[in-house]
Symmetry: D2
Subunit: 358 residues, 4 copies
């Protein structure tokens, strides 16, 4: 088992890390770290546990360490706020750790990939650029914004048709605002048609994720994105309503086939957190729905539905992913799995995928 | 006072009619009619009253009549299901009544206007075509779909810039599904990304409403609409996220000014149900919000916010109207007021607007 | 595997039966039956599936049979409405089936037990009385009302202290109203302080469940119950706030120990649907909570918390059970397991518990 | 008009003060004060306005003052946190102000009344004791806890029957937790069966409110209260489920009559914030309901329903009040009205009730 340290372990995403790693075949939560007021306390006491499954007892006992502790774990999962991640994550990569971050701080750096391994596992090779340029012995990779996930997953199989313009309207769950997050008085019987910084991320990140690695850099997808982000009274699961214009508009049937036959990137196929199907098309009239579809593929699958013609662009559809599983903690775990499987932890004595599956 | 009959009086929209007419300066609820199982009972007993204000006692006493009764009221407000409205409403217009309907059955008929008087009060002149062609002594006018309202109100002041393409994603309240409407088990912690027949209406009706009356017909607005309609867990108030492409794209500031200086149609200005402002621009970062803005202008105003550039079309914004007030019962009352004010009830001895304000 | 027929299979509880039996070690869904409009259709088409886990494909294929079909399955699980259950369930027992019902129709019949096997598995012996008196070759046993469950489970370990008076105020989930059940417009931002027939059941059923089998009858617990039942906007999980007066009031610590050391009835211990712990005491200040605790023990455990002195009676506490799992489908499955394990299906060639565990 | 200063003006209750005073016949908001971070800013900017009616423009302009400012307003309405109120409120009373507080800090002081004027307006005479003992030239009176209101209002008309024991289970709205208050993630699809400090208040305050002023002190009602307090996903309106034991149990009909014939205390009758009916009995099967009944009497009436026999105590019923109107801001305004009307502001040149109504 490979030891893992979780940074920001008491927060909403931190707890998801703890929950998802409970029975992980490769990783074991060995260290938890959080902000000042939690340091020195047992995790069970420092953490206001928010999840319906019990806190894993092995983690409950751990003493919360400060964020600047000298972690021994080779793998670091970061659920840090962006302003803290800004300096801390590169320092940890410098010290040799494999840092898989959920923070937005470094996503757009030229030599830092935003990994959704089923789509762009090859972008992990930026690690080599990063090591070369920054002198990291470890590495730093990032997970995308949660709302970006269903957009990127739905579009990846359609790139061959020349995606040109994409309109996204999101209906985002309250868990996406962290904890305590949005006050109940604000969202109850209400919609908040604004989420600070979100639209910029949704307009920017899919272009990088769906771009092509070329030499030392990623050439972003040449497509224009427009996003309108809304918070709705739903617990978990981000829904996106998407319209797309193509250079070579395919038929609806062709698109459905592209989705149904889509294969995850070869390097991602045997990663333990990858679900059997990363993308499900549900042809129910009124699907996907967050309460019914967010847990598909143990929260790691994107569900799509309602594909139809769009009068303004070419086609429109609805897609949905679990925002704190596929869109946050589960995604960052998957990225850490990819780092290990591709052998980027060999300097730490970690096996690569051949050995993991031997 | 002018007597009014309410058809479908025990349903969700019917109750709103009763509520909104309680202190109306011109109209008095004289007759209520509903389906078979309510007929012959006192309204207070037949009706499962859903509103937080008390049922007006004068209406509580009325005996529910059958839908095919011989109504004496000159004005008829219809909250009938479309299939019932189909034959019943024209028959009532034939018999001389001023029928103001909230049903969708006749909205797209060539000689039936969809009236939002603040925008298109002149379309009421189709009544003359209708009388000529169908031989009605009364008339039949319709109120639009509830989701169409914020779209049409927001676009009307912008027509001068050449509206060409409009993308609409709606987040619609549960009260829009009537009563009993959507089961709690379906919408709780959930979104339903489909509302039967709604998208077609939102793509079609604004073109007619915003069209020009020319001779005997309305020339629809030459613009393309694409709609994606969603039910969300909000009690009242439909939110629409709108992107627009113009022939002559104005600046954001010009659009804001167009909204803020927009004047309702002259014929609508003195109608009692018209609010002081039919359109409010709220420059709060996160507005409009259904719980905070749906009751603006006693539920008759549309609130707009978040105007900004759109990467795909030209601009995007969020608009909101109360779906059962401006978007249904209040709208149909306003239409009935227009009919009376324009003198279309003179054959019944009703005054026109000069006399109403004398 | 033992074939099972589910009656009322398309409803909310019927679907839970299908879901919970998917990987059952003894039972296999062989037949599904529902009301007229579903008959003859594939289950997948007849059923508006409401659950977040996929419909089991083996059941999806089954053709829905009429409720009066000639079922071949030895075990019948009934989620019938009470008025249908009234005549149909005894007829099936007469024909030899082991009928485990969730309906209320026969719960209070003298020779029909209300089984919560962890508490009163010995009441299953009423089957013999039933067979003797009614000439059944099969049998009919019932599951209690869903709100009764947390009350009965919490009180069972305390009977030794002489339970005399019990005040129950329930906060019940919307799934308890079935499907379509309570309209969203009624329960949204609201509480319904009345549930038809519920208070009578909660005041009556615990006395029978916690009573003693004596000869041919059950001597009900000599205690007085008062219930006030409320519907609240929660999806699943019934919470009860309980105050109790004892003949010999124990200390709070003694009560906690009684709960923590409580052992399920010996006959229930090896039934596959019994959870590891049927009763959990959570000493968190603000527990139990429906969203966090309803799935404890795969939805089969009752969670108790907030034990403290009551100024009016002796002690008060809060208890919670999953209403459609432990409180309905899961409970009826457990009862069917008990029937089989105790050998009441031997006339049908079913094994008893010795053979099941051999 | 009498100038009023609002302390804690930017919070949830402070905003209600501002809203409710907009058209008040006696009072005018002249000063607003709040904690450090708001001081010096315009109220419109310092305050995240939470209410659906627009912020009154006269208040929007006011500059927020520090809590220890030298207020000129004779009347002070306090929505301070208890720990701040502890020292600040007596100091203001010392300086001559009429302080009407919603804080809990001084409620149980011997010489400070908890006023619900419709029930115990005579308790205002404690002001004289307070002035004598503490040397205040002004005075300090308090409003009760919000959950106490429906309990006290429902019991007041029944004191003649000898109220002995009272069981209260509350279902409290989220607005009662202030702002930001309870995180949405905690209360969504959930119940919180614990509210810090609430049960003690509900067990203690009704005894004082319903007690008798005798000489220099209030003799509390000789009755035992037991409370269980729960937070539920409802926006506004606290529901209480109450069981009562009497020395001389009246019939249900007698109780209903006592409620329906109850007259507010003579000194309260002409206060502007007193509604026409302070107590409404709704004989609907399923009433009161928070969404339908919280605004009765402009949020100042208590609605009662479901009176029936209790198997354990004598009778049980459900009562409901608006927690931030009658249960907080509206109540404290009513108390300030009583102070003025009874002439306790004459040292400040304020009129008494004779002059107010002259």
């Amino acid at each position: 088992m490979i030891d893992v340290a979780i940074l920001g372990a008491t927060g909403a995403v931190g707890q998801r890390f703890v929950q998802l790693l409970e029975h992980h075949p490769w990783f074991r939560v060995a260290e938890v770290a959080a902000s000042e007021r939690s340091v020195g306390r047992a995790y069970a006491e420092a953490c206001h546990w928010l999840l319906p499954t019990p806190m894993p007892s092995s983690v409950a006992q751990l003493t919360v360490q400060p964020l600047d502790a000298d972690f021994h774990s080779p793998v670091i999962l970061s659920a840090l706020p962006s302003e803290v991640a800004q300096s801390l994550e590169p320092a940890l990569a410098q010290r040799g750790h494999l840092v898989s971050s959920n923070a937005s701080a470094h996503r757009m750096a030229d030599d830092v990939p935003i990994l959704l391994p089923e789509l762009n596992a090859d972008h992990v090779q930026l690690v080599e650029v990063q090591r070369r340029k920054r002198g990291f012995s470890g590495t730093l990779v990032t997970m995308s914004n949660c709302t970006t996930v269903p957009v990127a997953v739905a579009l990846a199989p359609l790139l061959t048709f020349g995606v040109q313009q994409v309109q996204v309207v999101s209906l985002q769950a309250i868990s996406g605002s962290g904890y305590p997050g949005v006050p109940s008085f604000d969202i109850f019987d209400n919609i908040l048609p604004y989420i600070n910084g979100e639209e910029e991320k949704v307009e920017r990140e899919p272009r990088k994720i769906l771009g092509k690695l070329s030499g030392d850099q990623i050439m972003p997808l040449e497509a224009t994105f427009s996003a309108s982000c809304n918070r709705v009274p739903v617990l978990d699961g981000h829904t996106v309503v998407v319209s797309v214009k193509f250079a070579n508009p395919p038929s609806l049937e062709t698109i459905r086939q592209a989705w149904q036959s889509f294969q995850p990137h070869a390097w991602a196929r045997h990663l333990p957190s990858l679900p059997d199907s990363i993308l499900l098309y549900n042809d129910g009239l009124d699907r996907p729905q967050p309460r019914l579809d967010r847990d598909n593929g143990r929260g790691m699958a994107t569900t799509i539905g309602r594909l139809r013609a769009c009068n303004v662009l070419d086609v429109k559809f609805v897609a949905l992913s679990h925002n704190t599983v596929r869109g946050a903690a589960g995604g960052a775990i998957l990225n850490a799995e990819l780092l290990v499987a591709q052998g980027y932890g060999q300097h730490l004595g970690l096996p690569s995928v051949q050995h993991l599956h031997a």
